[in-house]
Symmetry: C2
DNA sequence: TTGTACGCGTTATCAC
DNA sequence: GTGATAACGCGTACAA
């Protein structure tokens, strides 16, 4: 059961290592091996189920065909979609993905990044660099890393990143509401300590001048708070929607939007007749709510694809300088708005 | 930018490699290095930001602190929860996770497994071995692998696995319905080509003798079919629920259950008064539907934990023989049943 | 055409 | 206490 090595093959086939290499993995140097010898070597390799040791191979400077992925310990719905997209593309190109989870702080993130490098990854994608108040540390640790790509714009420019325009997603939603004749749209959003939420808020404020009274925050620090949030929906309908006389709401999480639909129905308000509702993420449930939920699709497949492509470009080293791309969310229009 | 190696440290500190190793990574051999020398070496290492090359380290037989995870190209909700749980535990124990996606066939799965081994992983967890009709191949490729753990019972015994009792999950749901006085429970389930669904079906049939007329299959081969499935819900209410005079339904996917709730409301049927509904997966949306959805919680955190612990046991080689554990789903009781 | 020798970075075993 | 030296498995010049 001990791993069969190059030498085992060579001994078994009665040749030396170099010949085996030429037949099995070489390729680049002119392959001048007698066909019958080559065939014999291949037969032995197959019989012994030879598998080259990738760590030894990496030691000689060859690519591991491996990329690293920095993720936060709590994977959001969006990040899961990005992760699966990147993983799929990597697999299609013969790459593996090594995940490094980080523990909610900058130090842990940098440590994880370093460990990925120690493993000899070809490049790294970061989905977990949004640590409010640590922008300076982030820049010090991660600026000028050629084989690193960020999902979401970080606070500095010397890097590769995919700019996810959360602000434009909200803008599209609000514009859609206004075009449908809504006069007083509001927004129900999560705690704006994180970059994406702040961008969403900015997108809303850009179109709604009197935004202060039109925004309500659902503080969902703990992911297990859903029960409490669901219980709070009737109060949100009374105080926020009826209180502010809103005729439309953009909700930054689909499940909250579904909860809002339920509370509106209980209160006897019609959607979209009395109040239009737009969710965010375009999760599966949007098709099954009543009415079916219009939702912002953050286009995470496009994000994942852009991340992968940028990483490959930087790994293959075509051209220099840092790269950036932009992904703009789309509106998946259904019945609720 | 070329990686700084052990030799660089040794040269800079004016000692030889062995001394550096004893100070920086050794630990096991009695540390007989003069304190001032040790301090000097540590200082140089810190200044040069030395990071040992893990591939070279692996070559000498030491653990990579790395585990492999075999996943299917389409990650189910359950598998995502298992993945994140395993990843979290691994990170807590200083391990990394390498993901290998497989392309829906046995050959690809085995190839992915082999590549993980080539990378020198300490062990492998498989979430993707459910290929109907390929049981013999599965056994041939994966039986008697000491450092491999399956999530879900495979078709043979010479392996480590966590037995996820999908059947008992359904049983608990049906028992709950019967205890509440339901007389004619039905089941809305996905295509029973996969093991988990077949187990669910078995669990249902064990309690419901006349199951044939009480089961309806939603064929969700394509994940993008939700729109069609949502549109079919009214017909399911008419033909299946009213047609079979059911007073309760267990639905094997929460989003379908939410769609059913919507269709029942449109038809003027009360939940749980006229028809009780139980979903499956205990997704976030269960808290936000109306009524809030009772759902089977497959206890994926327990599954992930069991997988991790079994893998660590087999890696650390305590005792011999194959291990198995059982995880039983729980019922998360809310309003709909 | 095939074989030899060396380097990759680390660890372990001996001498000193 | 410290310094040579030999593995580990593979790739690659270069020599035969």
């Amino acid at each position: 059961m001990a791993n069969v090595t190059l030498i085992d093959i060579a001994r078994e086939a009665g040749v030396c290592k170099a010949t085996v290499v030429k037949v099995l993995s070489g390729g680049d140097t002119n392959i001048r091996v007698r066909p019958e010898t080559a065939e014999r070597i291949r037969a032995v390799a197959a019989r012994l189920q030879y598998r080259p040791n990738l760590n030894a191979r990496a030691l000689t400077g060859r690519s591991m065909h491996l990329i690293g992925l920095l993720v936060d310990s709590v994977l959001s719905y969006s990040n899961i979609q990005i992760l699966t997209t990147v993983e799929r593309l990597a697999a299609q190109h013969g790459y593996r993905v090594m995940i490094a989870e980080t523990h909610n702080d900058m130090a842990g993130l940098h440590e994880s990044y370093q460990i990925l490098l120690q493993h000899g990854v070809d490049g790294v994608i970061s989905l977990a660099h949004d640590y409010p108040g640590e922008e300076a540390t982030l820049q010090r640790c991660f600026a000028n890393q050629p084989h690193l790509v960020f999902a979401g714009r970080p606070s500095f420019d010397e890097c590769n990143y995919v700019d996810i325009r959360y602000d434009l997603g909200i803008r599209k939603a609000v514009e859609h509401l206004l075009a449908r004749g809504c006069r007083r749209p509001g927004m129900l959003m999560e705690n704006p300590i994180y970059g994406p939420v702040r961008l969403q808020e900015a997108g809303f404020r850009a179109l709604v001048p009197e935004a202060d009274s039109r925004i309500r925050v659902i503080d969902s620090a703990d992911p297990g708070d859903d029960e409490r949030h669901a219980a709070a929906m009737p109060a949100i309908v009374e105080e926020f929607i009826l209180g502010q006389q809103l005729d439309a709401v953009v909700v930054t999480t689909d499940v909250f939007a579904v909860g809002l639909l339920s509370a509106l129905a209980v209160r006897g308000l019609r959607v979209p007749g009395d109040v239009a509702v737009i969710g965010n993420n375009n999760e599966r449930v949007c098709n099954f709510s009543m009415p079916r939920l219009t939702s912002i699709d953050e286009n995470n497949v496009a994000v994942g694809t852009a991340l992968w492509e940028m990483l490959m470009e930087s790994v293959e080293g075509t051209g220099s300088g840092f790269r950036r791309r932009e992904v703009i969310p789309q509106l998946a229009i259904r019945e609720s708005a």
